[in-house]
């Protein structure tokens, strides 16, 4: 099997060009359409009366539902990359919660558990979604998944980890050398710094004193 890379080289390897190393986009056939019956779930339900204006007929952003402006590559509302592989049309979301189990496991002295139940949801709409806490200082970089602000978990580093989109549209998590580490699901061992681990629907990323981030695809 030979494929052609973006620079026009014929490559025997199909993931990256065996001449120049450029990533080779998966052929259209492998980007599967969602199975029948689920297709409608991909699109957000717009609970408004039918709108026939030109805006409504434009392609909705798979991440936030805002109509695409012309042939723009990025969504004006959320910055989603329309050209990005969509992982069989899947939208990924990270949901941060206050987790009593994580709190008990960490047993950090001098901290009390804030009220549970509050959820912070983040659409994964960029190739790199950094997890961290924004510092209230101008000029400091702001992580895409900013867990600063109440209930603020002091065990999370300013730049703690990053969710990275892979070629198939799924995400993996990479610890960026955080102070207190990152664990996955029920494994008590922290993941190695800079050693990305692939994530699946329902995986729980545990970090800080009480934070659990659940990954969901829909």
């Amino acid at each position: 099997v030979t494929v052609v890379c973006p620079s026009g080289h014929a490559s025997a390897t199909t993931d990256y060009c065996d001449q120049c190393g450029a990533p080779i986009a998966p052929p259209a056939a492998t980007v599967m359409a969602p199975p029948p019956g689920q297709a409608t779930e991909v699109l957000p339900v717009i609970e408004e009366e039918a709108d026939t204006s030109p805006a409504a007929r434009r392609e909705p952003c798979p991440a936030c539902g805002a109509p695409r402006s012309g042939d723009d590559r990025y969504c004006e509302d959320c910055g989603h990359d329309f050209t990005a592989p969509r992982g069989a049309g899947t939208q990924w979301e990270a949901i941060a919660t206050v987790d009593r189990r994580q709190f008990e496991r960490q047993a950090t002295e001098g901290l009390s558990l804030p009220a549970e139940g509050a959820e912070r949801r983040f659409l994964l709409n960029a190739p790199q979604m950094r997890i961290g806490r924004r510092r209230e200082r101008p000029g400091e970089p702001v992580p895409e998944i900013d867990l600063g602000g109440p209930p603020e978990d002091p065990g999370i580093s300013r730049m703690h980890a990053v969710l990275e989109r892979q070629d198939d549209g799924t995400y993996r998590v990479r610890d960026l050398g955080s102070t207190n580490g990152t664990t996955l699901n029920d494994d008590p061992r922290p993941i190695a710094t800079d050693h990305p681990v692939a994530l699946a629907h329902g995986d729980r990323i545990r970090l800080g004193a009480w934070t659990t981030i659940t990954l969901q695809s829909r």
Binding site: Y16, A22, M159, A192, D194
Partner: protein, 433 residues
């Protein structure tokens, strides 16, 4: 080979990559640590047929003191005991020439209760007398191995003295002929042998080098080496590195369990691909540091900077990808990966010790103090306690954190040689802070 077999073989090897893929916009140097682990293979993967030769120095000096030749006999017997049934084996006695003391019919014996018994008897009659020409020993071992093609070949070489009865060039020629033919673990007993000479032999023949300071420990060491050789589940495995057009391989280095430069060992497969031999593998794990220089691309661009494959007999056992992604986000690009930083330090540690000891020998105390001081600092930072202990026998540590040391006046030769031979031993990266 059927698909099923391939799956089973592949299950035995894994390659894990540790790197910070993000480079600044003008960044061209890609660093990655690759941990290769072999898990011995599943049921039914029998060990390959093996051949083992014990090469014992029987030069005159082995009689002084007498305990050396006595220990060598015992150690040879211990090695013979550890050779499993069916393995082809022989014992060579080396002086200024080489002689097969067992089996002595121009080939190797096949291990069984009976042949081991005969070999014990031959080993007990080893006598010291003559010079040292290590090249002739290696050549004889190679000729014997050549008589049993298709076996995974391993030798143990013991010497107590420098290679005095042949020229360095003669040794080089013999060594070049043996390269890739068999692996050889080298041991020096006493303090009259040359560390650099034995290290070079071990390095070319993909083996280990160590000092046996006390002859009494020899038998145990021989037993351990033979058992390790018997535990090898693969034949010769190569690390195959593909790099993109326009890139250059800055270096390839084994960094755990010890530092071993592999850059010059590259055997070209095609213009973009080279093989680095790693020898036979048992159930073990080794780390490699790859440094590749690539042509920078634009922001957000991704490039495959290296594809690592483990190859045995042209069959790919496992693969790993080294990537580069250019970004203007300094938070991402300026971090140095922990594994890369750790092993860069371990390689510098080995270099500082060797340079420091060399300077000390030449009487350049200023350089020796700086180099060995830096070594103390690096050993302390990385919690390399084994190397730290060896350093303390040669220097007095005032402050490990800053590398402030004093050279000791009366240093035992064996301590200095132990530090030299074991300077390349590394520790793995510790748990996250």
């Amino acid at each position: 080979m059927s698909n099923h077999d391939q799956e089973r073989a592949m299950a035995g090897f894994t390659a894990d990559i540790y790197q910070n893929e993000y480079l600044p916009l003008d960044g061209s140097e890609v660093n990655a640590i690759v941990t290769v682990s072999a898990t011995g293979g599943g049921p039914g993967t029998g060990q390959p047929p093996a051949a083992e030769i014990v090469i014992v120095d029987t030069s005159g000096s082995m009689d002084v003191p007498k305990v050396k030749i006595n220990s060598a006999r015992d150690a040879t017997s211990a090695a013979i005991d550890s050779i499993r049934d069916g393995v082809a084996f022989a014992v060579i006695a080396g002086t200024d020439s080489a002689r097969v003391v067992y089996p002595g019919d121009g080939s190797l014996a096949i291990a069984s209760a009976q042949t081991r018994e005969q070999a014990h008897w031959a080993a007990s009659r080893l006598k010291a007398g003559g010079g040292t020409a290590i090249g002739t020993w290696l050549t004889l071992a190679r000729e014997l191995f050549d008589s049993v093609p298709g076996r995974v070949c391993h030798a143990i070489l013991l010497t107590d003295g420098a290679n005095e009865h042949e020229t360095a060039a003669e040794l080089d020629v013999a060594l070049a002929d043996c390269e890739g033919r068999f692996q050889c673990d080298c041991r020096g007993v006493g303090t009259d042998w040359e560390v650099s000479e034995l290290r070079r032999i071990a390095s070319v023949l993909l083996g280990t080098v160590d000092i046996i300071p006390d002859a009494a420990g020899m038998a145990e060491d021989f037993r351990a080496m033979t058992e390790r050789a018997m535990g090898k589940a693969t034949g010769s495995v190569s690390l195959r590195l593909w790099t993109p057009q326009g890139s250059t391989v800055a270096f390839v280095r084994q960094v755990a369990p010890s530092v071993e430069e592999l850059t010059d060992r590259a055997v070209a497969v095609n213009p973009l691909t080279a093989d680095y031999p790693t020898g036979a593998w048992g159930e073990e794990s080794r780390d490699y540091h790859f440094c590749i220089s690539v042509v920078p691309r634009g922001p957000g661009d991704e490039m495959l900077a290296g594809r690592i494959s483990l190859v045995e007999d042209e069959e790919v056992l496992s693969q790993g990808l080294i990537k580069a992604i250019w970004t203007d986000d300094q938070q991402l690009s300026t971090r140095i990966n922990r594994e890369v930083a750790h092993y860069t330090g371990q390689a510098e540690l080995a270099e500082c010790i060797q340079d420091g000891l060399e300077a000390r020998k030449l009487g350049d105390e200023a350089t020796a103090t700086v180099k060995l001081g830096r070594a103390v600092q690096l050993a302390s930072e990385s919690s390399n306690d084994g190397t730290m202990k060896l350093l303390q026998a040669v220097v007095e540590v005032e402050d490990a954190a800053t590398g402030t040391i004093r050279l000791r006046r009366d240093v035992d030769d064996a301590d200095e040689m132990a530090l030299d031979t074991r300077s390349t031993k590394t520790v793995r990266v510790g748990p996250a802070q």
